[in-house]
Amino acid sequence: MESEKRSIGREALAELISQWRSAGKRVLAPKRSGDKVDFAWVASLEEISLDHVQTVQSPKAALFPRVEELFSFRSADGRVEVRERDLGALPETVVFGLRPCDAAAFTALKAIFNWDSPDSLFSARLARTTLVAVACSSADEYCFCTSVGGGPGAIAGSDILLTDLGDGDFLAEIVSEKGRLMLQGAEALFRPGAGREKERCLARVEKAFDLEKVDPGLARRFDDDAFWAGQSLRCLGCGACAYVCPTCACFDIQDEGGITGKRLRCWDSCGFGLFTLHTSGHNPRPLQSQRWRQRLMHKFSYMPERQGVLGCVGCGRCSRACPVDMNILEHIRAIAEARP
């Protein structure tokens, strides 16, 4: 159904943000420090950067933090007493200034965390989080959202999508129920808006490859070891691509403490050599080429197959963060265009 359209000025936007803050909501937004822009907890609009192409890290930390306490425990006189997390106490969060591709990524995360047994902590955080995205007015050679079903102005996944109209005003498209709820709370700040010139303010992102050809291309290449070895010769096996990726959700569980302690969940990455090491010493994916293949297969073949959602939103963060310039767009295009 058609989303309602409004428009909102910069001062009104600043007011809206301070309303969120005074309502006790945490605001996660892009903030510039030096030559890098990254998500950080902000207090007001001035701290927020809107003139960048993309942040270093994705906003997934709002729902899937780097380190998260699952529960704490205490052992005394031979008994162990477990104290669950009080999900009610989780803070309300607004993720502001994320890009349409990031918003779409949360859909992928939701699919993973609710695949077979729903993750209560993730779902509780998601319920308390509102996504106020800002459409892209500029892109670079790493972006390929249009090739994976997204777009610089796509509304999918956002609760509200703002588009900078260039004249100090923002078009606000109210997409979801949460968006409407937020709108009611601050009706005065918004003015009716037509949104006719939205297309003009968006960035141009050419389609880089044919998505349908990727899955069969992967299947064809699957056991062509030389191909994968050639592609991944540069890769050094660090975790940077997985950690900045909005759709990567692999995690590790660690218990810390002695008599009293906590069970912690923290990020992990299939790129690490020891990610699949068995206690026996056997490692099903000993070679970096196999791990690189796994990354592409999981995002472009396994997730669509099992969770019905693509594991990549084309944000280009992994290529920008990679120390050795493993450009995922380049590799996917090679797979898609390869002769049958």
């Binding site: 270093v56 890290q57 050094l236 096996g237 290529s319 120390p323």
Partner: protein, 266 residues
């Protein structure tokens, strides 16, 4: 066809080497590592200001070693890395050739002795700018330094890109992956990040050749080079020992001198 490409073509054609590891066109206008295995592809090699990565890291990757004898396009830091790796029994002399790209003609270094002579002619010390920045930082107050590093380490993701990019971090099972006992916490919380960064710096003390790849690889831009340069200068001023200048030198921390300074010991 530049002199570098010509020499690469010649080496591959004569099968003197099985692969030439150099820099090629990358995305975002910067160069990236490229592995040329056929003489005809030698044209892909470039060498300009964006060729910064220390390619010696690939000498330690099993998949690259399997390709056979390699010719490596080197910068001064790469040569120092090769000597340090040799001093740590990690590479054999006949497993590589060093290609020093310079404007006039390409210098080919085939033995550790040749590399040592070449490095000896260069200045392996920290640059005056690096020394000045180090000096400015150490002049800060104790608390100021603590707050600076707490903020920096709070942003560390523990993605280990610094470890992966460092050619001297070649340990197959790093202390970080040792869980009995769990020396370094796995989660990227502030205490874990501090212990990880102290351990990384200490394990590079007397070994790091200051190539700067760890700082370039860090996605969140933590100035790791400061830690390593601090220890490079401490090891030099304290023990007059410098890494990466000889293929046979002992590590500064596994040797000692009877008169090492001990004013801090009661």
């Amino acid at each position: 066809m530049s002199a570098l490409q010509e020499k690469a073509r010649e080496l591959l054609a004569s099968a003197a080497v099985q692969v030439v590891i150099g820099y090629g066109r990358g995305s975002g206008g910067a160069a990236r590592a490229v592995f040329i295995r056929e003489a005809t592809k030698a044209g892909d090699l470039v060498f300009d200001g964006t060729c910064l990565q220390n390619l010696a890291v690939y000498l330690m990757k099993p998949e690259v070693r399997k390709l056979g004898k390699a010719a490596l396009v080197v910068r001064p830091a790469t040569l120092r890395t090769i000597l340090q790796l040799a001093a740590e029994n990690q590479i054999a002399e006949n497993s590589l050739l060093a290609l020093v790209p310079s404007a006039e003609e390409i210098v080919l270094l085939a033995t550790f002795a040749a590399i040592e002579a070449h490095v000896a002619a260069l200045d392996s010390d920290l640059s005056t700018a690096e020394k000045a920045e180090l000096q400015r930082f150490t002049a800060l107050g104790l608390d100021e330094r603590r707050r600076f590093w707490e903020e920096q380490f709070s942003r560390c993701l523990k993605c280990y890109a610094c470890r992966a990019a460092c050619p001297l971090c070649y340990c197959t099972r790093c202390t970080v992956e040792c869980n009995q006992p769990q020396w370094i916490p796995v989660p990227a919380h502030d205490l874990g990040n501090l212990e990880w960064n102290v351990m990384r710096a200490m394990h590079l003390a007397g070994r790091c050749v200051n190539c700067g790849d760890c700082s370039r690889a860090c996605p969140v831009g933590i100035p790791l080079y400061l830690l390593n340069q601090k220890l490079v200068s401490d090891v030099f001023t304290g023990f007059n020992s410098r890494s990466g200048i000889s293929a046979r030198s002992d590590n500064a921390l596994s040797t000692f001198k009877p008169n090492d300074p001990e004013d801090f010991i009661r």
